[in-house]
Symmetry: C2
Subunit: 242 residues, 2 copies
Amino acid sequence: MHKFGIENYIAHLSIDCVIFGYQNNELKVLIAKFKFGQNVWALPGGHILKTESVDKAASRILKERTGLENIYLEQFRVFGDENRIHTHNFKEVMKEELKKFDAQRFTPSVIEWLTSRFVCIGYYALVDINKVSPQNGEFDEYLEWRSVKDIPPMTYDHDEILTLALTALRQNLDEKLIGFNLLPETFTMREVQALYEAVYDKPFAMNNFQKKILDLNVLERLEKKFTGAQNKAPYLYRFKRN
Amino acid sequence: MHKFGIENYIAHLSIDCVIFGYQNNELKVLIAKFKFGQNVWALPGGHILKTESVDKAASRILKERTGLENIYLEQFRVFGDENRIHTHNFKEVMKEELKKFDAQRFTPSVIEWLTSRFVCIGYYALVDINKVSPQNGEFDEYLEWRSVKDIPPMTYDHDEILTLALTALRQNLDEKLIGFNLLPETFTMREVQALYEAVYDKPFAMNNFQKKILDLNVLERLEKKFTGAQNKAPYLYRFKRN
DNA sequence: GCAAAAGTGTTTATGCTACACCCATGA
DNA sequence: TCATGGGTGTAGCATAAACACTTTTGC
């Protein structure tokens, strides 16, 4: 493999992505376990080509990790502390490990570039978890969907980035109707409610919730869904396409 | 003057500031008229030192232009289009003018650096307009407070940056109680209302507005303000410090 | 029929809007 | 005493929360 092409990317500026999915009544985040170090976790991220827009870079990075295009993506904050990388212990581990990893590809100057100070643009993404086939990045041992309630400590300031992404998601879920990006094509009202409960980590009353969602006038009711359970079959809904 | 120290700054990353003030019942923005070109206007901006945080860079830039410290500042969006500078006519004007301006200070490599592709972090600031003494930047002929309703076309995508700053301000004014940063130490309820009317560009009913603001429980009522007008003297208020 | 969960209707509380009214001030 | 604008109270409306009830499904 040829040398890592630092000259193609904007230096000192990176993107980190908080990829939200929803499964088994839990809000989940796709995080990466590194090959380096012991039990080192991080948010998927990447760099911006000198010739591409920041938004396109985020889409590209998302596609590389999930295989999906046209993902719902939202830029939510810049993390620009001067010490967010510099004072972190993991920086030195990273330097050592990169050297051992592939000396051809990661020359001293590349390693210096990769471990220098970075300003990070935080994006969050909403995906239908069933459609995603996670793809390891170059430094990833594997990717894993983890409940937001069970996130291991992550490198640098990634814990803070996740926290603020969740805050931004909560603020936008209602207003921008983005929650439906987390659900499959058709879904029951109960599933929408369970999603909201997972995001906000609190219960909603069924009748009021249903009224609120239907009053948004963005769903169309389809046929009933017979599950074989001995109770009334719930209706399926679909997001209206105008 | 010595050479412009590009080596001290992060390349391809800049900050632009929308500085809001309030005067004569109008919401105003501090914008700069350039020495270069004809009638060229821009938002105040600057670069980020390699050793300083993004937030501190924004504070520094604000202090350079307004003389104020501890300004209310909010990062609201990143502008990362790959062509936001590149395809803009003004880029070529800028290159020419910088060369003529000071060939010692603006060497070809510095000019190349300054007119290359930039990703911009947008901040908005709220200031008490009476406390500000505008200071010209290096390229500014003068700075001017202009009503948001009377902004001349600005360079690059600065018009869009201003529009989105105003959107962000409107979203935050209520929730974060930031509006009081635009007012002097003490003020009447009528003045608060006029400020809100200027920001949202719509009228509010006096009694309901007063109730809403007082219910926030963040103001303390002081003595009356006698203006000599032949009507009931309004109370002065002050923002509570806890 | 019965348990389980879906779905709907009604009442209550809350907050916002609109209207009506009173009060202080200086000429 | 009057015009002017400040300040307060209350009724009406719309929205949201709480409570109660009916319906469907498979055993």
